[in-house]
């Protein structure tokens, strides 16, 4: 028993074999959006550092962040931000012991996608 085969046993296939579900897909995108937000965060850190450094440095950083590319990054990041925030609030609801059954979990997943899209459009219009 002590020298059983380690590390070469068949593993249960998971991601590749299951039909995509609202619960799993929304969870994966919470992870992707959360970590992708470091791009916009570092852009904003750079922007603040440049503003503190002086007008020339600010002109460079501000030029990048207000270019079409900067706009695109910030627009996608606002979407990622609201989506990730709703995902986090969903975790707080689950941690508190509510809405844990499959039907309600899937409804929460659909709701957070819709709300995140609406909040992103609202932010893009207002800001």
């Amino acid at each position: 028993m002590a020298d059983v085969n380690r590390g070469n046993r068949p593993l249960s296939p998971h991601l590749t074999i299951y039909r995509p579900q609202w619960t799993s897909m929304t969870s994966i995108f919470v992870r992707i959006t959360g970590n992708a937000l470091i791009v916009a965060t570092l852009l904003i850190v750079w922007w603040f550092a440049a503003a503190a450094a002086g007008p020339e440095a600010f002109a460079t950083a501000n030029g990048v962040i207000t270019s079409w590319f900067g706009d695109l990054v910030l627009f996608l990041s606002v979407g990622a931000l609201w989506y990730h925030m709703l995902g986090g609030l969903r975790h707080l609801v689950w941690d508190a012991g509510y809405l844990l059954d499959v039907h309600k979990s899937e409804m929460m997943g659909q709701a957070m996608v819709i709300i995140a899209v609406l909040m992103t459009i609202f932010t893009a219009i207002v800001v």
């Binding site: 570092l42 550092a49 931000l81």
Partner: protein, 123 residues
């Protein structure tokens, strides 16, 4: 022929014993960010696009400066915890350690830079 018993092989590979604090830190920072992020988006967003002089004047005010400093600091601490979980799930061995150390340095480094910059703008 290996003499190690199943029990001996399992000892030490169980719970890491430190996960509770990590989870709790993510909970606390996420609660803080749920409040801070809307304030930051709707103070930083309208300011963006202003001239150098407008930005200096805007971030000399306490409210936008404190909101920006807190959001960046708590956000980067939250990222530091989140990205560590991401790395632990997908990367193994030495690369895992290097990436985790690098991510922690990046998080605190960026936090230090942005706090210094905001304090300098505000004062």
């Amino acid at each position: 022929m290996a003499y190690m018993t199943d029990r001996k092989r399992a000892v030490g590979n169980g719970a890491a014993k430190t996960g509770t604090e990590h989870h709790w830190q993510m909970i606390v920072t996420s609660c803080a960010l749920a409040i801070l992020v809307p304030f930051f988006v709707f103070t930083f967003g309208p300011a963006l696009g202003g001239t150098y002089e407008e930005i200096i004047a805007y971030y000399s005010r306490p409210y936008p400066a404190i909101v920006a400093a807190l959001t960046m600091l708590v956000g980067l601490i939250h990222f530091r915890g989140g990205v560590q979980t991401l790395i632990e799930d997908y990367v193994h061995g030495m690369a895992r350690k290097v990436l985790i150390i690098g991510a922690i340095c990046l998080s605190y480094g960026a936090a230090a830079v942005v706090l210094f910059a905001i304090v300098r703008l505000a004062l």
